[in-house]
């Protein structure tokens, strides 16, 4: 019983993190129908931002969140402006390997600057501390990460669904051409989607850095989890990404308990089954 | 003994999630005839084509080809049975030369490249594309690309050729040439033609019989002259006022 609660709680917490990671991917796909293979690298950059801030500034890594958001946002916008915008008109194959090129470029750029070694945060208020809630023992940084992710998810959800800007984004996702006729600058919308995607996943990275190891190649692991989440939730659906994130969090928590070396395999298998038997996912189009 | 129809469609209904595209269509095609299908936009003509050719599964109803029930057959099986079709939107293979495009059609009847090439050469001569054989279709004008699609369809040695708006975008001279070419091809290859078209001079000239559809239903059938005079047909195209006026 205690184990079950432990697993479920920890699964849901990680689920919130996955949900935030998936949010950006889903948003980008919804707005311009492109799968961003570089998404995991943006996350990795967020991790390194946390590392830099806590190593060189007398600040707790938590303070790196705004930095990670800004850098993630800029990275997204720059990627859009210099690469994505030019491959949008091309064949799907070109889009695929365009974002692959971006992924490799960012990964090896970071490797060049920081070296390939695995690192972790040097210090932090919440690093390495545990919390007990009832009989459940939780990693303090995971709780904090989950909390922030939930908050941010809600914030972005509010922006998308309750603001004029969000409406413009949604209009562009539904029909870019029609949106253009209505005076919406789709190029700006596309860039914005990339910016929000980069910012949210950058923050997620900075949060993850509190309890996950930091290395230039970590991006791939998370982008695959993000794909699984987005597929399960439905490409393009924000609420779907949330629900799916929690489900994937639970899968990897439970799977990890029984066969810890294969916990990612369960996620990948879940992805494969979803995509083959229910390509629309839970809520997608 | 009653002759078997080449193509028989019985009470075909095709629904897309509640929207009825074709409702209770029945028609028969005699082997060796040229039949036109006309109707205002949205009448369900292309849906009908797609149901016959195997791109859509009819919701209810049946399609028979030479007496065989082909209702739920997938497109490639229908093609192998002897029904070829062209498309309204260009579906040329851009990375293959004109000759290779036509060879793909020929490959449906043979596994040998030499034979396929020979067939393709023959067809290219038939439609007048011999000079363009080694060219890539994207470098050619749309009217020529339509001929490539026609050639490709012919290479499958069909018994029934369904042409979807093959005359759209042609000037009057090209339209006349196309009519003559099609009549010649039909005779030489012993084909039955089933065409759908908006260009009236084209379809009314070439067709022996015309079927008229509107809002998913068949509203008239007969020779071009008969059909042109029917009130229902005029009403479908121009509205009630003009029908009454006639």
């Amino acid at each position: 019983m205690e184990l079950a609660t432990q697993l479920i709680t920890s699964g849901i917490l990680m689920g919130f993190v996955f949900a935030l990671i998936a949010l950006g991917l889903s948003l980008i796909f919804g707005v311009m129908n492109i799968v961003n293979f570089a998404h995991g690298e943006f996350l990795m950059v967020g991790m390194y931002v946390a590392l830099l801030v806590s190593s060189y500034l007398p600040l707790d890594p938590l303070a790196s969140l705004p930095f990670a958001a800004v850098i993630g946002f800029l990275l997204g916008i720059i990627s859009y402006h210099f690469l994505i915008h030019h491959i949008l008109r091309g064949p799907m194959i070109a889009q695929l390997f365009g974002t692959f090129g971006l992924m490799l470029f960012i990964r090896y750029l970071v490797m060049f600057i920081f070296g390939p070694d695995v690192r972790s945060l040097p210090h932090g208020i919440l690093v390495g501390k545990t919390l007990s809630v009832g009989w459940v023992m939780l990693d303090a940084s995971k709780v904090m990460a989950a909390g922030f992710c939930l908050l941010l998810f809600a914030l972005v959800y509010w922006i998308i669904n309750r603001t004029k800007l969000g409406r413009a984004l949604r209009a562009t996702s539904l029909d870019a051409e029609a949106a253009r006729y209505m005076g919406i600058d789709t190029k700006k919308m596309n860039a914005l989607a990339w910016g929000i995607g980069g910012a949210t996943v950058g923050i997620a990275g900075a949060l993850l850095a509190h309890f996950y190891y930091i290395t230039p190649t970590i991006g791939m692991v998370f982008v695959l989890i993000a794909f699984a989440t987005v597929a399960l939730g439905g490409f393009g659906s924000i609420s779907g990404a949330f629900l799916a994130g929690v489900i994937i969090g639970l899968i990897q928590a439970v799977g990890g308990q029984y066969l810890s070396e294969l916990k990612l395999t369960f996620v990948y298998a879940a992805y494969f089954l979803t995509v083959v038997f229910r390509p629309r996912g839970l809520f997608g189009w | 003994m009653k002759p078997t129809w080449l193509l028989e469609v019985k009470n075909l209904v095709k629904e897309f999630g509640g929207v009825v595209a074709t409702a209770d269509i029945s028609l028969e095609l005699e082997a060796g005839s040229i039949v036109g299908l006309i109707g205002p936009n949205g009448a369900g003509k292309t849906t009908l084509f797609n149901c016959i050719a195997g791109y859509y599964k009819p919701t209810t109803g049946k399609v028979f080809f030479n007496g065989k029930d082909i209702t739920d057959w997938p497109a490639h099986r229908v093609a192998k049975m002897g029904i070829a079709r062209t498309f309204q939107t260009m579906k040329i293979m851009p990375n293959l030369t004109v000759e290779e495009n036509v060879m793909i059609g020929a490959f449906s009847r043979t596994g040998n490249r030499q034979i396929a090439r020979g067939e393709a050469q023959e067809i290219l001569e038939l439609v007048g594309l011999v000079r363009e054989a080694k060219v890539y279709p994207t470098e050619l004008p749309i009217a020529t690309q339509k001929r490539i699609e026609l050639a490709r369809a012919l290479a499958t040695k069909p018994k029934l050729l369904m042409l979807d708006e093959i005359a759209s975008g042609l000037n009057p001279l090209e339209t006349k040439e196309t009519i003559q070419a099609l009549q010649r091809i039909k005779e030489e290859r012993n084909l039955t033609l089933f065409l759908t078209e908006h260009v009236m001079e084209f379809i009314m000239t070439i067709s022996e019989r015309v079927i008229v559809m509107a809002a998913g239903r068949k509203i008239a059938e007969g020779t071009p002259e008969e059909v042109a005079r029917e009130d229902k047909v005029i009403e479908a195209y121009l509205g009630k006022r003009y029908a009454k006026g006639k």
């Binding site: 494969f272 | 293979m93 990375n95």
Partner: protein, 331 residues
């Protein structure tokens, strides 16, 4: 029969300049070990031929088929592990293990192909990625395949043609060249075969292909299975050459991505693409990368490679060969 031989060896449909270029290329490769004695250079050449080999197989489904498969490493792994395990368990001579590896890869591919080909475009690509990942995790987890430690091949003394183990890289050079030229000639035949044409038709326009009697799914499945078999051969070679394999080496997602990217950079769908792509990647990685790595600077080689990929994606999706053909058309 004569026609088949002609199809395999004839490049009559390619312009003379290409044919001459190819002959020169083959001559250089064949003469290479006699002129170049530096061990490292020989290793680079062998690795180049290996990646050209991988590329040839991938080009079938990815280039001529237009289906971006990001999981080819699983097939490399199937070939590699089949050869390694058969050698270690049953002392099977190398050349008997190769067809078995090919069968294993083909069988698995046949099973996963049908569900996967319900998908198109990036959904398909991601599904292929997933399948390959699951297999790699399984092979890492399983003890009977050696787990993460992999399989080590016992060393034989001298030149052993039964197990294809040799004391000098010269043998390996001709060994990999043989595999490369075999698959190259096969691809030359394939692109002119009925399946080759039908595959390209499916790539260019599925609906039109169906209207011409082509069973689109069956065509894709056939192509996918053939690519799997071809990939397995490269895996078997790796066993004989490296005398050691593990899942990280032969089934890693990075290998899949590299194989796919290399062909796309070189020119997917053209017979020269895989060779060009490998000719850029391998020297870049093994000369520039190794040199800079020695100085503690990691990643520049792949940054350059990634940059090339991005430019090609934005400007000429048909790859470097696409650029060559575009220039040729203008001039």
């Amino acid at each position: 029969m004569v026609q088949v031989l002609k199809d395999i060896f004839s490049f009559g449909d390619r312009p003379l300049s290409e044919r001459i270029g190819f002959v020169i290329f083959i001559a250089i490769v064949l003469a290479f070990p006699w002129f170049v004695e530096l061990a490292y250079a020989r290793a680079v050449m062998i690795r180049f031929l290996l990646f050209a080999l991988f590329g040839l197989g991938w080009n079938l489904i990815g280039g001529y088929g237009g289906q971006v498969d990001l999981g080819q490493a699983k097939n490399v792994g199937f070939g590699a592990f089949t050869t390694a395990l058969m050698t270690v368990w049953w002392k099977t001579p190398f050349w008997l293990t190769v067809p078995v590896g090919m069968v294993v890869a083909t069988a698995e591919s046949f099973v996963v192909a049908y569900p996967m080909f319900r998908l198109r475009g990036h959904y398909f690509a991601i599904a292929t990625l997933c399948v390959a990942l699951v297999w790699k995790e399984l092979f890492t987890f399983w003890d009977w395949t050696g787990g993460a430690r992999g399989v080590e091949i016992p060393l034989k003394a001298g030149a052993d043609f039964a197990y294809m183990q040799f004391p000098s890289p010269i043998y390996y050079h001709y060994f990999i060249f043989f595999l490369f030229i075999t698959q190259f000639l096969y691809m030359n035949w394939f692109r002119k075969s009925k399946l080759g044409y039908e595959l390209q038709a499916v790539r260019d326009n599925e609906e039109a292909a169906a209207s011409l009697g082509i069973n689109v799914t069956v065509t894709k499945v056939k192509a996918y299975c053939i690519t799997a078999a071809l990939g397995a051969v490269g895996g078997s070679f790796m066993v004989a050459y490296y005398l050691y394999i593990d899942p990280h080496m032969v089934m890693h997602i990075d290998l899949s991505i590299l194989i796919a990217m290399t062909v796309m950079v070189g020119g997917a769908g053209s017979i020269w693409g895989p060779i060009i792509g490998a000719a850029i990647l391998i020297p870049l990685d093994m000369y520039l990368g190794a040199w800079l790595g020695g100085m503690g600077l990691y990643g520049i080689d792949f940054m350059i490679y990634a940059f090339i990929i991005m430019i090609i994606a934005a400007r000429e999706p048909k790859g470097i060969w696409g650029i060559v053909e575009r220039i040729r058309k203008r001039g």
